[in-house]
């Protein structure tokens, strides 16, 4: 794509863990509260306050580590990362450096049909900072510390991604996985899942890495791809013009589709990491890890393989169904209600997904429940409605008009399967269209479609297509 250049990308993702309370205090982490109403003495770093570690945070981090086949460090240590910023009340962020909870994991991505293994160097725990509001305060910045202390899992990939497309695939896979295993809600608008990309280029075949630039806080998949591609081009152009890439932090501007240097973070920071003496080394044993392992849900890749095997689905269909746990569960519920797996898959990946996308809803918010869809599928299977009509029924169900039977009844959509009725209808149509009948009998097979269309028109689409085909063929054959 870039001629003689190779791209090296590493992603750092901050996932906000789905706990009730903060990592080191008992304050709530619920989104959207009034400023500083979820910030207690510990969160505000009042003199004399101390941190106490949230057990759930350790469990969720361990769960993640198991889901990516990583090493779970039985002893991990919290360190202080020292720097001054108004959204950082203690003047240091409690994080992990030398001994993170999770190390050496892997994630498999598929790009253009090819699978690639991406190493996950580490995942460590840290506390989030507060928020700064720069508008509305007359030359001042307002600080809200509700978010300060929210637990984050920082997930760092090996620099093994070689294109923006791979980066997006990795990000999407991770985004799906963290929701799958219930450790993060993945809500990018609310900041629960944030991505920084480290991008560098080097001449094809060169072993040494080029100087990298960090692009911060990219909050949508669309922007990741654009930002990274823009940055790659910027770096290549810069080097080809004789310049040098500077190691720096850049912000992506979505409106202008460009990255620009962040002034305030440009100076190299000496973070003076050291183990936090208010916290002790965290030691977890095999029984802790085993208990977490027992709760691990079936992971996406395993589920996909099972769907292929158990339900006879194609890899593509299975992949689409298992992209989200909710969709996979929905599908299985439909099948469990007695629907053929292929039909269920078609409807989940087809109509259901289309409507969900159209209205930007998640599976959990679908007005058509699994039971309702199963009911509709059964009416297709028992020939009450055709597949085509069923789509109308689906729309009506989506709009709250009741379940399949109610809608079919109310709208009179029942399929016509009475052979006698169909026969007489076909007789009528053939009688009214002698010209086309002759054409067909003379060999023009395409005319068949015309007749089918006429029957459907006359029956408002309710004639059972299979029967129509059969009877029509019969009658035309003479």
């Amino acid at each position: 794509m870039y001629g003689n250049w190779e791209t090296v990308i590493g992603l750092e993702i901050h996932a906000q863990l789905s706990t009730q309370s903060k990592i080191f205090s008992g304050s709530s982490i619920a989104y959207g509260a009034e400023p500083n109403t979820q910030a207690n003495a510990v969160d505000l770093a009042l003199p004399g306050t101390l941190p106490v570690l949230n057990k759930e945070v350790m469990r969720l981090a361990t769960r993640f580590g198991l889901a990516i086949n990583a090493t779970i460090n039985k002893k991990s240590v919290f360190e202080r990362k020292n720097y001054f910023y108004p959204d950082l009340p203690k003047g240091y962020q409690t994080s992990q450096l030398e001994l993170p909870i999770v190390e050496h994991g892997e994630l498999f991505i598929t790009v253009n049909g090819e699978e690639k293994r991406i190493g996950v160097t580490r995942a460590h725990l840290e506390e989030d900072a507060g928020k700064s509001l720069h508008e509305d305060f007359d030359g001042c910045t307002g600080i809200d510390l509700n978010r300060a202390g929210t637990p984050l899992l920082e997930i760092v990939s090996e620099p093994e991604l070689s294109s923006a497309a791979e980066a997006v695939a990795y990000m999407k896979k991770l985004h799906s996985l963290v929701q799958y295993i219930g450790i993060c809600d993945g809500n990018m608008q609310e900041g629960s899942f944030r991505c920084d990309a480290n991008v560098s280029v080097r001449p094809k075949g060169q072993k040494e890495l080029g100087t990298r630039a960090e692009i911060k806080n990219i909050n949508s998949f669309r922007f990741v791809e654009k930002a990274i591609n823009h940055e790659i081009e910027r770096q290549i152009e810069l080097i080809e013009d004789g310049g040098e890439v500077v190691q720096e932090t850049r912000l992506y501007d979505a409106d202008k589709n460009e990255t620009r240097s962040m002034r305030s973070k440009e100076e190299a920071n000496d973070y003076r990491y050291f183990p936090c003496p208010d916290l002790l080394p965290v030691v977890i044993d095999d029984s802790f890890i085993d208990a977490v392992r027992d709760e691990l849900p079936e992971l996406p890749d395993a589920k996909k393989a099972r769907f292929v095997c158990e339900f006879g689905l194609s890899a593509e269909d299975a992949g689409q169904l298992t992209a989200s746990r909710e969709m996979a569960d929905y599908f299985e519920a439909v099948v469990a209600a007695g629907v053929d797996a292929k039909m269920a898959a078609n409807w989940c990946n087809g109509e259901l997904s289309a409507w969900l996308n159209k209205e930007e809803k998640g599976v959990a918010d679908s007005p058509v429940s699994a039971a309702m869809l199963a009911g509709l599928c059964q009416r297709i299977a028992d020939n009450t409605v055709s597949n085509k009509i069923a789509k109308e029924v689906f729309e009506a169900m989506w709009n709250g008009e009741g379940d399949a039977d109610a809608v079919i009844d109310a709208k009179g959509l029942k399929q016509i399967t009475d052979t006698g009725a169909i026969e007489s209808m076909i007789d009528e149509i053939l009688a009214s269209n002698p010209g086309q009948v002759e054409q067909y009998r003379a060999g023009k097979e395409k005319v068949f479609g015309f007749f089918v269309g006429q029957v459907m028109k006359a029956t408002q689409g309710k004639a059972n297509p299979a029967q129509v085909n059969q009877i029509l063929k019969q009658k035309l054959a003479g």
Binding site: A41, L44, A45, L46, P47, G48, T49, L50, P51, V52, L53, R80, N82, F84, P86, P89, K90, G91, Y92, I143, D270, R272, Y273, F274, P277, D278, L279, L280
Partner: protein, 487 residues
């Protein structure tokens, strides 16, 4: 006998026997502060009005048979390092001169729950950094035995207040000797328990892995009473130990016959002033007469205590004090031009020289390129020092030695050179590095100035320590001495 000539234990008995009231006690000691503290400067903030109300409440409880226990209604004062709700909490610093704490430290809660009556917040070296109480923003504290001498530090105010019996007991904190050294200098009993025995929640942090709260009182018996109430697991402090508190009081009277006391040979070299050496030797004889065996022990790495401490403590402090930035509480400079100006001027104005020096020392020791050589190395040597103690304790029950290398020095005498000041803690620091419990008890006088004996116990052996101290105090009366001006 006047109230200030009685111990906490005796006052407790008097209250229980109905011989006096909490109100009477509060009034008496308030009067003493009013008479003497203009001179001594032991208090930063007085809470006399509240104290009288608390005393009355204690009397009412007692009258209706609902006394909270042996400490109910007894007067004392808190070192101004403990956050006290609704009351100014300064930590001896301009940085917190306007800080009214919105919450109570655990130690404060516990002593309130025991019914004790707090008369005020005592003066201290700024952010607990000092050995003479000369770095306080609120002025120096005088030694009640000799006003031209320092009371010791950092808990100088707490020590001097008890030394002059302005109050029978006070709380203190000890990071490198800040209870034991001033106890020695003021002729009183001071105890620092095992690290983690008393909660640090609400105790403004200096060096987190070393800080511990403790007590100043006129006797081991008194100290035991208070420490009992202060100790215990606190879920708000991750370093707090989940171990039941031993009964520190009922075993005080036991004989110490057969106990082995170790004397570290490194504590008795040429640096030890003669009067201190003599007092310590005399004290050892008393212990022998009580039936204890005495033997020499070796703490090979103890000579590195001071260098290790002055890397580890400032390093931890440099991070602990980063929160003082003028944003959420405390001092803020006027008209900050921008964020950097806000931070730099606020901190330059709010902190005194010694604090700034230690923050910078700590920042340096943690900085890129120096972390390995300083901080990591110091932590490794710390292990060696601790392990020396643990090894020694395989052979002895207690360790004894001098608390300080010399007599209380003069005000202004050591303020020119920080390192000279640091060497005052040469015998006490190792105990903090090892997390062991330590005490200082009065063991002699020279030229009208008190000399302290240090006792160190195994982890969680506070009861054993207090027992030994109490037995010594049954046989000697150094601890009963009061400076003439305050009798």
């Amino acid at each position: 006998m006047e109230f200030h000539q009685q111990t906490l234990t005796e006052l407790s008995a008097a209250l229980a026997a109905g011989e006096t009231t909490s109100r009477a006690l509060a009034e008496h000691f308030i009067a003493r502060f009013k008479a003497f503290d203009g001179d001594l400067n032991t208090l930063v903030t007085e809470t006399f009005e509240q104290a009288l109300a608390d005393a009355d409440a204690a009397d009412q409880r007692r009258a209706s048979g609902q006394s909270l226990g042996p400490l109910d209604g007894l007067p004392f004062a808190h070192k101004d390092i403990f956050c006290t709700k609704g009351v100014k909490t300064t930590c001896g610093s301009k940085m917190l001169d306007n800080f009214i704490s919105p919450y109570d430290a655990t130690v404060v809660e516990k002593l309130k729950a025991a019914g004790m009556v707090c008369l005020g917040k005592t003066n201290m070296d700024e952010f607990a950094m000092g050995s003479s109480n000369e770095t306080s923003y609120f002025g120096e504290v005088k030694n009640p035995w000799n006003h031209s001498k320092v009371p010791g530090g950092s808990s100088g105010g707490s020590a001097a207040a008890v030394g002059a019996r302005l109050v029978p007991a006070t709380t203190g904190t000890d990071t490198g000797g800040s209870i034991r050294q001033p106890a020695a200098f003021c002729g009183i009993t001071g105890i620092k328990p095992t690290y983690g025995r008393v909660s640090r929640y609400g105790m403004i942090a200096f060096a987190s892995s070393l800080d511990q709260a403790g007590v100043f009182a006129a006797s081991a018996e008194d100290a035991a009473l208070m420490l009992q109430a202060m100790s215990g697991f606190d879920e708000r402090d991750s370093t707090s130990i989940e171990r039941p508190v031993d009964d520190l009081v009922s075993g005080l009277g036991e004989s110490i016959e057969g106990k082995t006391i170790g004397l570290p040979k490194q504590f008795f070299d040429d640096g030890l002033e003669v009067p201190v050496r003599n007092a310590v030797n005399k004290a050892i004889k008393v212990f022998k007469s009580l039936g204890a065996e005495v033997k020499g022990i070796d703490l090979p790495n103890i000579g590195l205590s001071v260098p290790v401490y002055y890397v580890v403590a400032p390093a931890e402090a440099s991070a602990n004090l980063s929160r003082f930035d003028g944003v959420r509480y405390g001092h803020r400079c006027d008209n900050p031009a921008d964020l950097t100006d806000l931070y730099k001027r606020t901190r330059a104005e709010g902190f005194g020289d010694e604090v700034k020096r230690r923050i910078m020392m700590g920042t340096y020791a943690l900085s890129s390129g120096y972390y390995d050589a300083y901080y990591i190395k110091a932590q490794k040597i710390r292990r060696l020092i601790r392990d020396d103690f643990l090894k020694a304790f395989e052979e002895v029950d207690l360790i004894a030695g001098p608390t300080t290398p010399g007599l209380p020095f003069g005000l202004g005498e050591q303020t020119d050179d920080p390192v000279t000041m640091y060497l005052n803690d040469i015998f006490t620091i190792g105990v903090n590095l090892a997390g062991l419990p330590g005490m200082s008890i009065p063991a002699g006088m020279e030229a009208g100035l008190p000399i302290g004996l240090q006792l160190v116990g195994k982890h969680f052996a506070e009861a054993e320590l207090l027992n030994a101290a109490h037995q010594y105090q049954q046989k000697t009366d150094w601890h009963k001495q009061l400076p003439a001006a305050y009798q």
